[in-house]
């Protein structure tokens, strides 16, 4: 009996360990009581504040709750968090909560509710949390919700919700041209973690960039089916090289993407990173040789966009009930132009990229977006036309 108890205690300990691992990392601790007090003193001043935007800005409740799955992905979530760090430096009280991956999705709403109860005014979260945030926006009309990396018909957006959408198609268009320019076999591949509208937008831009550069190019699109399955990603790339002779690979696959880099190491082909500068990340890591296949990375500056959004909120100009689209022009997306890129990409390809970059900036040309397709079949036909 004694032994049984001991074992159950040990197992309970192990479980607790695993929970800590998922739930940890609350960065800005604030006492709820202090916040309530601050609110109470502000309350009488509130009606007067509505008269002028300036006074409203002065009385702005600078509290943000940032909801992420897990930090440490070295791309999307960490980029958003870097924006929060900047805002913290400017006097905002930004609290980041890590609510865990999809296996913990039943607890997401409770986690956000807890922070709302602590008195946080703004809730910021990625597209993973769209449904929950829209639901809460209805229940908490006094709070404001910023959903990034997602889009919605503007008529359907509640008063207290703002959407930030990235023109990942523009950034992907740039690296798509480069991929077509680098390919010797005339076949390139874009491998994604899972299919969703934002991911399809990456693919759309990439395919279009490649085709615009070289109308003869063939593009393979592959889906791994998980964001944390590097082994299968590696297998997928090896099979694409084997079956279709693909020789430039673009990953939009989160954690699975590391498998693509390894496949490229093995195959001696080029890889394109995503979201952050993955060449720099690996170059000064324990395994610098991985960096030697990453010719560039398509950038998605989530953090900068959040900082810009809250600056506009301070100025009283924030776009509520709207979708703000940020692209090359706003420097929210782009590609890494470093020495490695310059040394390995032929000058003519780089010139062509710079040229189209300027055209997109000036508004002379627009890049096709997944959101432009009227229906899924149209998108599938678009992909089918370039498939080898």
């Amino acid at each position: 009996m004694k032994l049984k108890k001991l074992v159950s205690v040990a197992l309970a300990g192990a479980m607790a360990l695993s929970l800590t691992a998922c739930g940890g990392g609350e960065t800005a601790a604030t006492t709820a009581a202090a916040k309530e007090e601050a609110k109470a003193t502000e309350a009488p001043a509130a009606p007067a504040a509505t008269e002028a935007a300036k006074t409203e800005a002065a009385d702005l409740d600078k509290t943000i709750c940032h909801v992420v799955g897990n930090l440490g992905d070295k791309s999307f979530s960490d980029s958003a968090e870097s924006g929060m760090a900047v805002l913290r430096g400017e006097g905002w009280d930004a609290k980041t909560i890590e609510v865990g991956d999809a296996t913990k999705s039943d607890k997401w709403e409770d986690a956000i509710l807890d922070v709302l109860d602590e008195g946080y005014k703004y809730v910021v979260g990625g597209s993973t949390f769209t449904d929950i945030m829209l639901k809460l926006a209805g229940e908490y009309p006094d709070n404001k919700f910023v959903i990034y990396d997602d889009s919605l018909d503007e008529e359907l957006i509640p008063e207290n919700v703002a959407y930030i959408l990235y023109a990942q198609n523009e950034g992907s268009y740039m690296v798509g041209q480069m991929a077509a320019g680098l390919s010797e076999t005339g076949v390139i591949a874009v491998n994604v973690g899972m299919d969703n509208p934002v991911i399809e937008d990456f693919v759309t831009g990439f395919v279009q960039g490649a085709v615009d550069y070289d109308p003869e190019i063939k593009v393979i699109k592959g889906t791994v089916g998980s964001w944390t399955e590097p082994a299968k990603m590696k297998e997928l790339c090896l099979s694409q090289a084997r079956d279709k002779k693909a020789d430039v690979f673009y990953q939009v696959a989160g954690g699975s993407g590391a498998g693509l880099f390894e496949a490229c190491q093995e195959l001696g082909t080029w890889a394109i990173g995503v979201d952050s500068d993955q060449y720099a990340y690996y170059k000064d890591s324990e395994n610098p040789e991985i960096a030697d296949v990453i010719v560039t990375s398509m950038l998605k500056e989530v953090g900068n966009s959040l900082v810009a959004f809250f600056h506009s909120e301070e100025a009283g100009e924030a776009q509520w009930k709207k979708v703000t689209t940020l692209g090359l022009k706003e420097a929210a997306v782009g590609y890494v132009d470093n020495e490695f890129f310059q040394a390995n990409v032929p000058a003519e390809v780089r010139e062509k990229m710079a040229e189209t970059n300027a055209k997109i900036l000036s508004g002379e040309m627009t890049v096709k977006s997944y959101f432009d397709f009227a229906e899924e079949a149209e998108y599938q036909a678009f992909l089918g036309a370039v498939a080898p």
């Binding site: 032994l3 049984k4 001991l6 074992v7 159950s8 040990a10 197992l11 192990a14 479980m15 360990l17 695993s18 929970l19 800590t20 691992a21 998922c22 897990n70 930090l71 440490g72 992905d73 070295k74 591949a189 299919d195 393979i220 699109k221 592959g222 889906t223 089916g225 998980s226 944390t228 399955e229 590097p230 082994a231 299968k232 590696k234 297998e235 997928l236 090896l238 099979s239 694409q240 084997r242 079956d243 279709k244 002779k245 693909a246 954690g255 590391a258 498998g259 390894e262 990340y281 690996y282 890591s285 324990e286 395994n287 991985i290 599938q380 089918g384 498939a387 080898p388």
Partner: protein, 309 residues
């Protein structure tokens, strides 16, 4: 590329995809023969995968890392055996708890050691178990590219099929293990320690899971990532079930799953099927195989019953 080359390369891919499933299947076979269902293969593989990467990175020696992967597989198996055999906890709950604890615990340990929460690919120097080119065989068309140049652990996996069969059928310990699995009361009445056999089955399971984990993080890819086993432990379990705990059968079923996986991977590039449908193939074929084998077995059992009357 000629069709011959393609077949060779495709076969190579099948064997690589099968490797972790063979280990997991054999681990499940050993437990099943001892009369237990080891649902913790997933967690044991995950722990081993992390241990291998961390220890090889820390010591700078690949083989110490591999040994550590096996050791941690065995330790995890030992914890389960201790809890369920000595502590009399429910085996299934213990296994589920182990899987959950491994899923979170590996991330926790990785975070403590490296400050990373997703992967060790940048934080820990990678060591990979070498691939082996077999002379002579290498130069035979089709078969050469299919069978030569695999990771050492892939060859060990195929050797393990034989080793597990030999252990179960040709050794005294294997006989005792099967006796306990068939009827623990009868076995203990002739002086076999049911408790010891239970421990031994989990420790051997641990060795096999350790090799599987090492293959995932030090062979197939060269880093650990959270949740990187992605259900392969459970597929291994069904492999053993379909083969009714026969080692050779488990090996064949594992290769069949490897085949469906390789097929799905090939279909993913440039096919018109939705990726979710293709993603389903390996799992759907698992269910189909279970149903088909089940039908064959029941009809066989009926025939036997009829013949008896």
């Amino acid at each position: 590329m000629s069709t011959m080359d393609w077949i060779g390369n495709f076969g190579f891919s099948v064997l690589r995809l099968s490797t972790p499933l063979i280990y997991a299947g054999l681990a499940a076979v050993i437990s099943a023969k001892a009369g237990m269902m080891n649902m913790a293969l997933e967690g044991m593989m995950l722990v081993a995968a992390l241990a291998g990467v961390v220890v090889s990175g820390m010591t700078g020696n690949l083989w110490i890392g591999l040994a550590a992967a096996v050791l941690f597989g065995v330790l995890t198996g030992g914890v389960i055996a201790f809890a369920s055999i000595s502590g009399k906890t429910d085996l299934y709950l213990t296994c589920i708890a182990t899987n959950l604890a491994a899923a979170g615990g590996t991330v926790f340990v990785m975070y403590l050691l490296t400050g990373e929460k997703a992967t060790t690919s940048a934080a820990i120097k990678a060591y990979t178990i070498p691939s082996i080119t077999i002379p002579v065989l290498d130069s035979i068309p089709v078969i050469g590219p299919m069978l030569s140049g695999h990771n050492l652990l892939t060859y060990v996996a195929f050797f393990s099929i034989w080793a597990v069969w030999f252990f179960l059928k040709r050794t005294r310990l294997g006989l005792r293990l099967r006796a306990v699995g068939e009827n623990p009361t009868a076995a203990s009445s002739v002086g076999i320690s049911v408790r010891n056999i239970g421990y031994i089955s989990f420790l051997i399971s641990g060795v096999l899971c350790g090799l599987a984990g090492a293959f995932m993080s030090m062979g197939w890819v060269s880093f650990f990532m959270k949740g990187m086993i992605n259900g392969r432990g459970y597929i291994g379990l069904s492999t053993s079930n379909i083969a009714s705990a026969n080692p050779a059968g488990a090996g064949i079923v594992a290769i069949f799953f490897g085949f469906t996986d390789a097929l799905a991977t090939s279909l993913k590039s440039g096919s018109k099927f939705p990726s979710e449908f293709i993603e389903m193939i390996p799992y759907a074929s698992t269910m189909l195989a279970v149903v088909v084998i089940g039908i064959i077995r029941t009809s066989h059992a009926r025939k036997v019953a009829k013949g008896g009357h």
